[in-house]
Amino acid sequence: MTTPQAASHDPLYAAAYAELHRLARRERRRANAPATINTTALVHEAWFKLGRGDLGTRVARSDFLAIAAHAMRQGLVDHARRMNADKRRHVTVTLGEAEREPAAPVAMLELDDALRRLEGTDARLARIVELHVFCGLEFREIAEAEGISERSVFRLWRSARVFLLDELAA
């Protein structure tokens, strides 16, 4: 299993990121595209392409999902950081309809910090959070990837969740 830190140096990380971005743009550009995109479906589609070895490397599905989840987390955190920076600089931007962006529902940067602390305490819990929260995977899918029971995944998720909520409130 690739660790998330190592993952960001993996060429597959860049490929997964680019592929997800390409798929998202394709979805968005369809006529009558809805205002949201089923990101999880995109992750599965990207796996379908990358996992088959289209890029010359074969990769385990569980590894790919971990990489995709980490890429997603990185992207969202970077985005939240940019939004914060814009706010601090008091930039007035006139945004077209397509560019109007919703504020993050939770403090993304704090969540990222808390998640890093969780990685220090229990790497598996952190991985489950990434898969569930950032990739949108169901417990059943995580169970398959981790090779444990769905019930165990659920219990681990609850531990991870209270850890994060407690840290966010601290």
Binding site: N32, A33, A35, E99, R158, D166
Partner: protein, 625 residues
């Protein structure tokens, strides 16, 4: 690692063990902990409480992520081809135009880079886009923004770049520099030259209007947006041979009658639009602008005949004095605006030629037309002579509906556009002699067909159906068939009341139109009830102009019913509303005129004369000279 962090592994272990444990076991464990390690106990109790409450992190982050990724993906990439996107210049129809500059620094150049809007990508839009690029590639003229570059982006979407014109739209340029008539004519000669050049390259623009012409610092006008331009078939022996328009996305007021009915469109349609542009630049208003502000009113006026001489109406702010328009310029504009394409100037060069003759003081080539221009007033209000012209009205309003779609969200917009298109196609199929059983169809037949379709079809979208019912009802009213008009407007009102809350402008408008139709067929009780209902529905809020229209209708009903005192009361209330909202002088003048008419009928001549005079004064004060 501080003590708090150091406790986490144990806390998580305890939490995992106790969270699903039976109550007894949990209580025992917690009891032991509280005695030995009270701090740890407190944290564990808090975690167990958080488990039962607290936000659903996953759902919240997922929703945000999905929305964010969607909006991010809709963005235009920072760089396309060798170009870096600077900012959006505009968006409309199916295209989106951005200011861009060389990204590789090879040389300095700014371009207007055009893409298809993400929500408008369809096979038809792609074909249209490719056609625009091909057409631009044929054109190389100082009066036309030239094609610079083109390609396909990373996602396979086509784009092209045109010369960027750093200038002002033609009308603003004229107003800001306070140009006199001769300077405006010279600018239009430049536009005509560019259009004539395009015609020689077998390109018909099809969407000429002032906002599609930018004037740069050196006063060079440049033609933009060949988005619905047509290529005349290259093997046509004569460039004036017409070609079929497909896209019915035109601009009310500039589109020629034959263009609106979907007939073959040739250079004559561009000549008509050039005439309308001249009219707007010189008089400060479009042809037919005196007949009303709404596209429907303009359409009906256009259906009734050619416009009055441009110098006759009030000169609006930004126009040149009417006295400069009499004679040559009136004749030139009237010739370009003739309904019959064959009686217009033969091409843009012929129009430019007469404009030059006017500037030089030489006699014009255009002939004064005894039958056309002046007789408009005498054409019966209640007769639409040419079926095609009645259809023009329908098409024009449908075009306006289409234009209003811009403000709706993409999905709804596509549905409505489709409904309107289907409606129009249905009408044109009726007009096709092959389907009409061999007999020719009158305007009345076509409107009947439209009424049947709009009553039964368009099941999908009530908004469009209600709007089109209004169009058909008003067409019946313009034919003088108030019974049919009332029938259609009643259907429309019922639908509008199902669809919108009481007091919604669309519901109120339906009441007013129905009231007018009922009044026309002397059903005064019903008409009065409807007009009162419209006022009540508006309540104290509502749009002032709507309230003024309802009062105008009420006044007209009472006058027709012979209750002149009530009519006077209605007009007085209308004036009060208009005064309060600082309505323009023309609207007020109409109200004083109606008031004067009602007083006249009661032989209150002094008051009547005063109000006529006030109406006149208001009209004159609208015109600066």
């Amino acid at each position: 690692m501080n003590a708090r962090d150091a406790d986490w592994p144990r806390l998580l272990e305890l939490f995992g063990r106790l969270v699903d444990a039976p109550v007894d076991e949990r209580e025992n464990a917690l009891g032991e902990l509280v005695a030995g390690e009270p701090a740890l106990h407190a944290r564990l109790v808090r975690l167990l409480a958080l488990d039962a409450s607290g936000s659903d992190l996953a759902a919240e982050v997922s929703a945000w992520r999905d929305t964010l990724i969607a909006s991010d993906a809709a963005k235009v990439p920072a760089r396309i081809g060798a170009w870096r996107i600077v900012r959006e210049l505009g968006s409309g129809g199916m295209g989106r135009v951005h200011l861009a500059e060389r990204a590789d620094g090879a040389y300095e150049q700014q371009v207007a880079l055009k893409l298809i809007r993400a929500d408008a990508i369809t096979p038809a839009a792609l074909a249209r886009f490719a056609a625009e690029r091909r057409i631009l590639a044929r054109l190389d003229h100082p009066g036309i923004a030239a094609l610079v570059d083109g390609g396909v982006d990373d996602e396979g979407q086509p784009w092209f770049a045109m010369q960027y014109v750093d200038g002002r739209p033609l009308p603003q340029h004229c107003v800001e520099r306070n140009l006199d008539a001769a300077a405006r004519v010279r600018l239009m000669i430049g536009v005509c030259d560019a259009v004539a050049y395009a015609h020689r390259q077998l390109v018909v623009h099809c969407d000429l209007k002032p906002s599609n012409v930018l004037v740069d610092e050196r006063s060079q006008p440049r033609l933009l947006d060949f988005g619905i331009a047509r290529l005349l078939a290259a093997n046509d022996s004569d460039a004036s041979v017409a070609t079929q328009t497909q896209a019915r996305v035109m601009t009310p007021g500039y589109a020629a009658p034959e263009q609106l009915v979907g007939e073959t469109v040739g250079v004559a349609a561009d000549v008509y639009a050039l005439g309308a542009m001249l009219h707007e630049l010189l008089a400060g208003r479009r042809p037919y602008a005196d007949d009303g502000e709404t596209p429907a009113a303009i359409a009906l006026a256009q259906a009734r005949g050619e416009p009055p001489p441009m110098s006759h109406g009030p000169t609006r702010a930004g126009g040149v004095p009417a006295i400069r328009l009499r004679g040559d310029l009136d004749l030139i504009v009237a010739t370009a605006l003739r309904h019959d394409p064959e009686r217009r100037y033969l091409g843009a060069d012929a129009l430019a030629d007469d404009l030059r003759r006017h500037l030089d003081g030489r006699p014009l080539l255009a002939q004064r037309d005894r039958r056309g221009v002046r007789l408009r007033k005498f054409v019966s209000r209640h007769r639409v002579a040419v079926p095609a012209v009645a259809l023009a009205a329908i098409a024009l309003v449908a075009t306006a509906v289409y234009a209003s779609l811009q403000s709706l969200d993409a999905r709804h917009q596509a549905q409505r556009a489709e409904s309107v298109r289907a409606f129009l196609l249905g009408l044109f199929e009726q007009a096709d002699p092959d389907r009409g059983g061999g007999r020719s169809l009158s305007a009345r037949d076509l409107i009947d067909a439209g009424a049947r379709r709009v009553r039964h079809d368009l099941g999908g979208d009530p908004d469009t159906r209600i709007e089109l019912l209004g169009v058909v009802g008003n067409l019946y009213a313009s034919l003088g068939d108030s019974a049919a008009a009332a029938d259609v407007h009643a259907t429309r009102l019922a639908a509008a009341q199902r669809q919108y809350p009481t007091g919604d402008p669309r519901e109120v408008r339906a009441r007013i139109d129905l009231a007018q139709a009922e009044s026309e067929r002397d059903h005064f009780e019903r008409a009065r009830e409807l007009a009162d209902g419209a006022l009540a529905a508006l309540g104290n809020g509502g749009e002032a102009m709507l309230r003024a229209d309802a009062l105008a209708t009420l006044g007209a009903i009472e006058k027709r019913a012979g209750r002149y005192d009530a009519a006077i009361d209605g007009q007085r209330r209308r004036i009060a509303v208009l005064r309060q909202t600082h309505a323009d002088g023309i609207a007020l003048a109409a109200a004083y005129d109606d008031l004067g008419v009602a007083q006249h009928a009661l032989a209150r001549y002094d008051e009547s004369a005063r109000n006529y005079a006030e109406a006149l004064r208001l009209v004159e004060s609208e015109a600066p000279f």
